[in-house]
């Protein structure tokens, strides 16, 4: 892992993907404001840009402590996952199966992380909308953290995915005796 981060290309992947996921999360929380701002003639380009960038700080005001923590962790861990997957695919010819299952776990983690965005007590929870679509929105009320468990599951899934890919990367390339 250390050698991976020391390579600027993979460090860049981690930073860019993490920032991308984090930006996406902040954007969907503030989409109404962002779209209204950018699709109107209100303010100059620089004013629009500064306001949009200021919205990054809403992680401190518009999220619960748990939700903010899992959002930041999910963003970073997803970045690390993608960098590891790219590294593994390049290193191991024919490593597609691991890459594929690792990718699936990462996506599961990201999906779970997205479900955990919002405020359950304010009606802005993404999971509420999705579960309501299937008529099981009330299930969230049964969860002790009101749905913030999704964020924790995301961190666990992404952590597990990193562990698995890391283990594969460190395994010597040998032909197993069958």
């Amino acid at each position: 892992m250390r050698s991976l981060i020391s390579k600027w290309r993979y460090a860049a992947i981690i930073i860019l993907v993490s920032l991308g996921v984090f930006t996406f999360v902040i954007s969907i929380q503030n989409w109404q404001l962002i779209s209204s701002l950018w699709f109107s003639d209100i303010g100059t380009l620089s004013q629009k840009l500064i306001l949009t960038l200021t919205l990054y700080t809403s992680i401190g005001t518009n999220f619960t402590f748990l939700s903010a923590t899992t959002t930041v962790l999910t963003s970073i861990l997803f970045g690390v996952n993608i960098a590891l997957l790219v590294y593994y695919i390049k290193k191991v010819q024919g490593g597609a199966k691991t890459a594929f299952s690792g990718g699936a776990t990462s996506m599961g983690g990201l999906l779970s992380g997205l479900l955990g965005i919002g405020c359950a007590a304010c009606g802005t929870f993404i999971a509420t909308s999705i579960l309501a679509l299937f008529g099981v929105g009330a299930l969230l009320g049964l969860l002790p953290l009101g749905g913030e468990e999704f964020g924790i599951v995301a961190v666990l899934l992404l952590g597990y995915s990193i562990y698995r890919i890391g283990k594969k990367i460190n395994s010597p390339l040998v032909c197993e005796v069958t």
Partner: protein, 246 residues
Amino acid sequence: METQNTKNNIFVTLAIPLSIIIAALVIALAVFFSGGSNAGQVAVNQPQVPTAQQPPQQEGDLEAVRPVDAEDHIKGDINAPVKIVEYSDFECPFCKRIHETLNTVVENDSDVAWVYRHFPLEQLHPVKAQRAAVASECVAELGGNDAFWQFTDGYFADTTTGNNRTDQDTLIPELVAEIGIDETAFNECAVSGRYDDHIAADFQNAVDTGGRGTPWSVVIGSDGKVLPLNGAQPQSAIEQIINLLK
């Protein structure tokens, strides 16, 4: 053997693009279900009228915001160039957070007026959100606009409030007594039901403007231009929006 290699190569080639496609689908799904834009919100099977009040999902139009008038609860000058119309729920923890922020914003800037309207999410905060909204209206009726703001400030400042855990049987009478409202008249008002329609109208207006959860605000500029403000945004972002609309 060659077939196996070809299969592996296909997997290698497809793994990343496939991951990206899945990610894109997840992202699209999340935006879709979060009701991201005013124009593209998903209509789920929830009532459009506030009979069983819950976070609405239908599309909204910011221009549908009911004009601010003297009947509203206003902090600041009603003729201020910028008005923040907030739709709030007394039991929402993030409403508590933005209440403190907006108090500071209005104190610091005389060009801003803050209008408080009700958006009680009955499904999330059954009974208590509505009861607090009714109590605030009764306080306003019996004590005026200042009394209304004393009540809301006091309610949100109380550390025990939020998430439907407020001990209203203690807090509301305490606040009513502190403000100096006649207890008998207040109790009569609180059970009369005469503010139910008013609160329902506020709720519906929040929905009509695109509110999907609380706190939901519409910021109206001097030239009638509007911007939405969803959630408890940081003070710096709110101040920038105000400056854009002055």
